[in-house]
């Protein structure tokens, strides 16, 4: 796109002023949480002195730590299953035409559109009406049912990212491998999969963050058997301001910031590789 040479530097315009204000708006809550996580007074908005107490309190709070463990377990299992199913699905959808493909594709991307509350309600009704009675009590609302429900939307995000990558891929690579004597399985694992890996990883990271953040679907499918981090946070903050939540926020922000930079780094690396 041709740009006037005068635009090589940042210039001041009213859009720039609005943008800077909006950047402030986006980072204000994060800034506030961070500052207050070091504030001595638990309730006053004024600054009363520096402390690391809230961090000690958070790291010795067994209830929060066990909720964090539940959340991590759910996210890792759901993303692991979704990575396999979603990749297979994206490859399958890119390869075959069959009657009902539009419907299959439409349904697989539905979780990206339907509000969480509707998915949560539907899953709860299904588990209560079908899964639990027919399994003879084998299926109980717990971590397993949260994982099953999370796979549905994780699957959609992994498949979305992987199929974007598939459309930009050289279709002859796999054919070449087959011509050179690879079995379809070898061609898939040794040729296609490494090409798709950056997309699979960034899809997984996105799904992981969303799974860690999900409150509604987890609380509808957890029953009494599990308590994820968002559920624990929700039950605490609806009763008022809790200063140790500030410390938790900062830890989580650092964690998801780290995940984000890993994702961006992987994307950057794969783009550099492709350009070579």
């Amino acid at each position: 796109m041709p740009l006037p040479s005068s635009q090589l530097k940042f210039s001041i315009s009213w859009q720039a002023i609005v943008s800077v204000l909006m950047f402030g708006f986006m980072y204000l809550p994060i800034l506030v949480l961070t500052i207050y996580s070091f504030n001595q007074s638990p309730y006053s908005a004024g600054w009363t002195g520096f402390t690391l107490n809230w961090y000690w309190k958070f790291f010795s709070d067994t209830k929060i730590l066990s909720a964090l463990r539940d959340s991590l377990a759910v996210a890792i299992c759901a993303v692991g299953i979704a990575a396999i199913l979603g990749t297979l699905m994206a490859v399958g959808l890119s390869r075959y035409r069959f009657p009902g493909k539009g419907l299959y594709q439409g349904i697989s991307y539905l979780p990206l559109i339907i509000p969480d509350i509707a998915i949560a309600v539907a899953t709860l009704v299904f588990l209560a009406a079908v899964a639990i009675p027919f399994s003879g009590g084998l299926i109980q609302l717990s971590l397993g049912t949260i994982v099953a429900a999370h796979v549905v939307f994780c699957l959609a995000y992994v498949a979305l990212v992987v199929s974007t990558r598939l459309t930009n891929l050289n279709p002859h690579l796999e054919e070449a491998a087959l011509d050179l004597g690879a079995t379809p399985m070898q061609a898939f694992i040794q040729v296609l999969l490494p090409e798709l890996m950056p997309a699979i990883i960034s899809g997984c990271l996105l799904a992981f963050v969303l799974s860690m953040d999900d409150f509604l679907i987890a609380s509808f499918t957890a029953g009494g058997g599990a308590n994820t981090l968002p559920m624990e946070i929700f039950s605490r903050i609806r009763t008022g301001v809790k200063p140790d939540i500030n410390a938790l926020s900062v830890v989580l922000i650092l964690g998801s910031g780290f995940a984000f930079f890993v994702a961006e780094y992987i994307r950057y690396r794969s783009e550099q590789k492709r350009l070579k």
């Binding site: 796109m1 740009l3 635009q7 090589l8 940042f10 315009s13 859009q15 609005v18 943008s19 909006m22 950047f23 708006f25 986006m26 809550p29 994060i30 949480l33 207050y36 309730y43 908005a45 004024g46 396999i84 199913l85 979603g86 297979l88 699905m89 399958g92 390869r95 299959y104 349904i107 539905l110 559109i113 339907i114 509000p115 509350i117 509707a118 309600v121 539907a122 009704v125 299904f126 209560a128 009406a129 549905v152 699957l155 498949a159 004597g181 953040d213 409150f215 509604l216 968002p230 946070i233 903050i237 609806r238 301001v241 939540i245 926020s249 989580l252 922000i253 998801s256 910031g257 984000f260």
Partner: protein, 300 residues
């Protein structure tokens, strides 16, 4: 033999199972995800549709479809008011996000030097990666009566604002959550804008204002439509912001549905009917977008 076939004799063992493989391969690729989605998405949705036709169902009741009572119940003034408030929050958030997001997207797409563009955009949407509950919690800290905002206001001698637990706080929280999505989609649309047209308009004597309304806006209209729709439907189903920032009077559709299942009300049939209405509204909106909107802009 077929397990360790030497490269020379590869033709023979590969041809025989080809017909079988042609059938098994699609099944292996599409089957697992298909079964998972059928069990945990399609059947559940059909079940809540069935349940929505049953009045006053409790867990454990025998399902026996008999009418539209639950849908009729939605039209009681009390519930219509709740749906109206959901629409108001969604529409208000959409408007706020468009007005605040357009200058930001315009700045990043057209005024920021090219090599800083990606970084600026990423910087703007980075807060999306933090927990949505904690973002709402941060707004509680800011907006509560003795919070950050009022401490700042009173220290300047200004009157304190009572915002928390009112509709204004919900709008602030929802706009905050959805602004990055609006900026992402508007950016995708503005980045493709042909700036030569703007130069041509200026050469032909158009004022910047005229050029904006007659060149920029028409060209980015599909992106504007996609962004507005995405923000609108996400806002319509939002639970966290109204629940945490809104107080008891800011009842919305999502909160009402939540109460039918996990709250005190416990009316699964009515909750299912409300969920079906929500799914239907969102599906119609998406169908309209796909029909009239810009496919590239909506595929973010």
């Amino acid at each position: 033999m077929s397990q360790a076939s030497p490269p020379i004799s590869r033709e023979a063992p590969r041809k025989q199972p080809a017909a079988l493989a042609r059938l098994l391969e699609p099944l292996a690729l599409l089957g697992p995800a298909g079964i998972w989605l059928a069990l945990l998405l399609v059947i559940p949705t059909l079940l809540i549709f069935q349940l929505s036709l049953v009045p006053g169902i409790r867990p454990g009741d025998v399902v026996n479809p008999s009418g539209l009572d639950n849908y009729v119940q939605i039209f009681q003034p009390l519930y219509l008011q709740v749906l109206g408030r959901s629409l108001f929050f969604a529409a208000g958030t959409t408007l706020i996000c468009l007005v605040l997001g357009f200058p930001v997207a315009y700045w990043i797409a057209l005024l920021v030097p090219k090599r800083w563009r990606n970084l600026t955009l990423i910087g703007f949407v980075l807060p999306l990666w933090t927990s949505s509950l904690l973002r709402s919690y941060a707004w509680i800290t800011i907006l509560r009566p003795t919070g950050v905002l009022n401490t700042v206001l009173t220290s300047f001698g200004l009157p304190a604002l009572d915002i928390l637990n009112r509709d204004a706080a919900v709008l602030v929280g929802m706009s905050y959550s959805l602004l990055p999505y609006m900026v992402l989609i508007l950016y995708a649309s503005l980045e493709k804008l042909d700036t030569r047209l703007l130069e041509a308009a200026a050469d032909l004597g158009a004022t910047p204002k005229q050029a904006f309304w007659q060149v920029t806006v028409p060209q980015t209209l599909p992106g504007i439509a996609a962004g507005c729709l995405l923000v609108f439907i996400t806002g319509l189903g939002d639970f966290v912001d109204p629940e945490l920032l809104g107080g008891a009077s800011s009842m919305t559709a999502a909160r009402l549905i939540y109460n039918q299942f996990l709250g005190a009300t416990q009316n699964w049939g009515f909750g299912s009917a409300l969920s079906m209405l929500l799914i239907l509204t969102v599906s119609i909106a998406i169908a309209l977008l796909l029909k009239y909107g810009d496919r590239n802009a909506s595929g973010v």
